[in-house]
């Protein structure tokens, strides 16, 4: 298998690796870098569990190769997590029962991070629309939507928690 040198920044840390051309970005993050917070639920781009930020925009890490992220900045769920404790959005998930098994959760957090950055005061419908690229089988979405709206409000009010 052909290999290619790849340089990318993940969660603020630079990595230079020689990887197989066909290695997906998701497998690279999980197995080469050990960032197992990014999950694979379908590997065909529907479930959204593998969503990461690629140069600040949400992207399916199962649908692209690691080499395609050459020169890019990637943020995973680990990168959303403060060194000490949880982010406002993560804490809102705790408070509003926004997760059950937790498998889809990293993708949800990434998608909502992008949404809240672009739209600090989303309506419930806008939150739901943004989440259509992320499937959750456990929660019925109510807690996730509530968490997103709660986090948006906390962030607007400048309250950490």
């Amino acid at each position: 298998m052909s290999k290619q040198p790849t340089r990318l920044t993940v969660n603020g840390k630079a990595h230079a690796r020689v990887v197989e051309s066909r290695l997906t970005l998701a497998d690279f993050l999980r197995h080469e870098l050990g960032l197992t917070g990014t999950h694979l639920g379908c590997e065909h781009g529907v479930c959204g569990a593998c969503t990461v930020l690629l140069d600040g925009r949400s992207a399916r890490s199962c649908l692209m190769f690691a080499v395609q992220a050459n020169g890019c900045e990637v943020t995973t769920v680990e990168g959303l997590t403060p060194d000490d404790g949880l982010s406002v959005l993560q804490q809102a998930f705790v408070d509003n029962h926004g997760l059950q098994c937790g498998f889809c959760t990293p993708g949800m957090l990434i998608t909502l991070t992008e949404l809240l950055r672009e739209n600090p005061a989303p309506s419930e419908d806008e939150v739901r629309e943004a989440l259509t690229g992320n499937l959750c089988r456990c929660t019925g979405y109510a807690g996730i939507v509530k968490a997103a709206l709660d986090a948006a409000e906390r962030l607007r009010n400048g309250r950490g928690s």
Partner: protein, 783 residues
């Protein structure tokens, strides 16, 4: 946090790790030297296996082995997988070999496995394994399967009928003979898969130094899995440890023991290296068990006042190629039909058919949604024909709370008479209808119609047998650190089991919630266990946690009283300390008490002092618990596209006493989402040769955030008198009546066109087709 934990809306202990990417699912477990497996699977629904040529695959770089059935160790080489739930009505073989031998019976059945340095190489090599088949006629539809002259799903069997059984009581034919009205419905019900977001996953590692085989599996039932592995590998139970780490959703299909859970450990033993297999989503569609099709032909007899006199009919269940959990889904369905209603006479004849599809086993609800749908469709029909309100028809037929305990007249799946222990069905329905503003709906409907919008409302009632035995265990042990260790055979795939059990133990022992160190889903932590299914863990493990906690509390108090020199009745436990309520209120911490309870080497313990501060309880419920509820769905139907939008969804739910409303609400809301999928979206389709047609999330739709409204949920608690916590179970009640309520609402919305539905899933194209047949579009455009 104070001592009051039970009943509190406590946020979950599970959450911080899962939110920060520190969850540990099977594929997150890293072992040095691990090899990766990929299965070679049958592309045919039914074929004779003529030969397998592994040479091209073996020649590839990075491939370590290609294993077929004959390469497996005894006894799994020749022995079919154990049948977990036997039933005398089952007529023939009903479990598969872990790798196919002479014949394959469904698309996706494993015939060989490739082990390589990486999953990528293993997949390349699996494609290079040449398998020679001789195609046999396949049985796709279960109705065809039981027809005269049908092809055989198994070449060796003379019939595709796996089982026929009858559930009945009372003189049903007399009831029909004397009825003022008889109505009949033919119903098709399809249920899809569990579709947990994490696919199945197995990692096995054998430590030669200790001869311990450790298997990480994304399972709901690690203790059952260990038993199966011991049987198939010919190993002692104690030489196998099964760990279910974080598991990304269960919903039933992960309660089953699968071929891969036997093959991967066998490979780890054979190769002397850890072996990992992570199912991909396509494999999940092909090989993870589903529920699929049931055909019901049922009739109801009522008197002139719409009181039920009798119910009778037939049901046909598609079990697929095997029946690894026997016939429990059709059995549960047959026993769930009477539900919350007084039905003087009942008879259902059930036939279970083999087809060439992946086996069916319970999916959230396990036969109950189908039974409730059949019953509720019949009651809606009665209401329509007699021009009565649908809520009123149900009200006239409810079992009244003063009739509790109520003996239905059947034997439930736990082998015990079906006796409802408690419940207040009229109050549940009244609450749901009030919360849904049922009273005000006709005005809303008229207003909508004036705007050219079609909205409708539907009701679904159910009683669900939950909390099934035989038992679950909990060990509570005070540690020298002062923390409290809890071990249980109960498991967690998102239900918040860790939090719920911690609430119960913390309340009893008097420790801080966060000082509980819990091990669950690990056969190494507790000797015996069963696992998660049938909404059973709050009853079984919850009560064991209570009993073990009470015992340890008594031990703590006795020891502290002795050490502090006070009466036991003067000792209080709080925040991990024993505090005397007399004198200058001396205090001793749990850690010190735990050390004292270990005694001094060689010195006898004081009389009556047990060793350690520890207790293991295995609560064994005497029968199933019965939770109940009412769902009310309000929907809008786009008559032009057949699109359905759920405007409002109301639930009144009796799960007995609620340990944690946050978690129970979450279970109900999530269950409703699954029910919405069953009602409107989820359809695992096959062609006439039993080839699966929907093997991706693009073809098989599960509900998205825009499909599921936030439900209004009310807890109408009646205490379960059959267990000390008074709990019943909450995992499946959200799913069970949802299709009944939603389809009824769609029908109501389209009542101007007089169309009727007796099927799930009800997809847009089927709605449009029905409207077309009813001449709706002529009417629509004329108006």
């Amino acid at each position: 946090m104070g001592a009051k934990h039970f009943g509190a809306r406590v946020t979950r202990l599970e959450d911080p790790a899962l939110l920060s990417g520190r969850g540990r699912f099977v594929d997150d477990v890293k072992l040095p030297g691990v090899l990766h497996a990929c299965f070679v699977r049958s592309p045919y629904a039914h074929a004779r296996l003529l030969g397998i040529d592994a040479k091209p695959a073996l020649a590839m770089n990075g491939v370590h082995a290609v294993v077929i059935a004959n390469d497996l160790p005894d006894p799994m080489r020749n022995q079919a997988m154990p049948l977990l739930l036997p039933n005398p009505s089952i007529s023939a073989l009903c479990t598969q070999h872990v790798l196919a031998r002479e014949e394959v019976y469904y698309v996706g059945q494993a015939v060989a496995v490739v082990i390589a340095d990486s999953r990528y190489i293993a997949e390349d090599a699996a494609a290079a394994v040449a398998v020679h088949y001789d195609m046999l006629p396949a049985v796709g539809d279960c109705r065809d399967a039981v027809a005269e002259g049908a092809a055989r799903a198994h070449a060796a069997l003379g019939s595709n009928v796996l089982s026929m059984f009858q559930l009945a009581y009372g003189d049903v034919d007399a009831a029909f003979a004397n009825a003022a009205h008889v109505f009949e419905e033919e119903i098709w019900q399809h249920r899809g898969g569990g579709m947990a977001l994490e696919t199945r996953a197995v990692l096995a590692s054998h430590d030669a130094a200790t001869d311990l085989l450790t298997v990480w599996s994304g399972t709901q039932t690690p203790h059952i899995g260990r038993r199966m592995m011991a049987d198939l590998l010919g190993r002692e139970l104690e030489s196998i440890r099964v760990i279910a780490p974080d598991v990304g959703g269960g919903f039933g299909p992960k309660a089953i023991f699968y071929p891969e859970e036997a093959v991967i450990p066998a490979l780890a033993l054979k190769l002397g290296r850890p072996v990992k297999w992570i199912e991909d989503r396509r494999e999940h569609f092909l090989c993870a068990t589903q529920e699929r099709d049931q055909y019901w032909d049922v009739a109801i007899a009522v008197d002139a006042e719409a009181k039920i006199l009798g119910l009778r009919g037939r049901m046909l269940h598609d079990t697929g190629a095997f029946a690894p959990w026997g016939i429990i889904m059709p059995y549960i369905a047959a026993a769930t039909v009477p539900g919350p209603y007084v039905i003087p006479a009942y008879r259902l004849d059930t036939m279970v058919a083999l087809t060439n599809k992946v086996p069916t086993t319970p999916v959230r609800g396990a036969g109950r949604p189908q039974a409730v749908f059949a019953m509720e469709r019949l009651l809606d029909r009665v209401a329509r024909e007699l021009q009565l309100d649908r809520g009123e028809v149900r009200r006239r037929n409810f079992i009244q709370p003063e009739q509790m305990p109520y003996e239905v007249g059947l034997i439930f799946r736990d082998g015990k008479p079906l006796v409802y222990d408690s419940g207040d069905y009229p109050r549940g329905q009244d609450r749901a209808l009030a919360d849904a503003d049922y009273q005000g709906f006709r005005a809303r409907q008229r207003a909508a119609l004036d705007e050219g919008r079609f909205i409708g409302i539907g009701i679904g009632n159910y009683v669900e047998g939950t909390g099934l035995g035989p038992f679950e265990g909990v060990t509570v042990r005070v540690l020298p650190s002062g923390k409290v260790a809890v071990a249980t055979g109960a498991t967690n795939q998102g239900q918040g089991t860790r939090t719920t059990l911690s609430q119960i133990v913390a309340e009893q022992v008097g420790c801080r919630f966060e000082d509980i160190v819990m091990t669950l889903g690990d056969t190494g932590a507790i000797a015996q266990g069963v696992g998660a299914f049938a909404s059973r863990q709050a009853v079984n493990a919850g009560c064991s946690a209570l009993v073990a906690g009470q015992s340890v509390r008594a031990q703590l108090i006795a020891l502290a009283a002795r050490v502090l020199g006070v009466k036991e009745s003067d000792v209080d436990l709080d925040n991990g300390q024993a505090i005397a309520q007399t004198g200058n209120k001396p205090v001793i911490g749990f850690g010190e008490l735990a050390r004292l309870a270990q005694g001094i080497p060689g010195v006898s313990l004081p009389a009556g002092q047990p060793a350690g501060l520890e207790h293991t309880a295995y609560f064994t419920p005497s029968q199933a618990a019965y939770c109940s509820g009412t769902h009310v769905a309000e929907v809008e139907v786009d008559a032009m596209t057949g699109g359905v939008k759920i405007l409002r969804y109301t639930v009144a739910h009796d799960a007995g006493r609620v340990v944690n409303p946050l978690i129970v609400d979450g279970q109900v809301q999530g269950g409703v989402a699954h029910g919405i999928g069953n009602a409107l979206l989820e359809w695992m389709q096959y062609d006439e040769n039993a080839q699966p047609l929907t093997t991706s999330f693009a073809d098989y739709l599960i509900p998205m955030a825009t499909d599921v409204p936030t439900c209004a949920i009310a807890h109408v608690e009646t205490v379960n008198p059959m267990n000390p916590l008074g709990v019943k179970g909450a995992g499946e009640g959200g799913t069970i009546p949802a299709p009944a309520a939603i389809i009824a609402a769609i029908e109501d919305a389209l009542s101007p066109f007089d169309v009727h539905f007796a099927e799930t899933p009800l997809t847009p194209e089927r709605i449009v087709a029905a409207l077309r047949v009813a001449g709706a579009y002529e009417k629509f455009f004329a108006a």
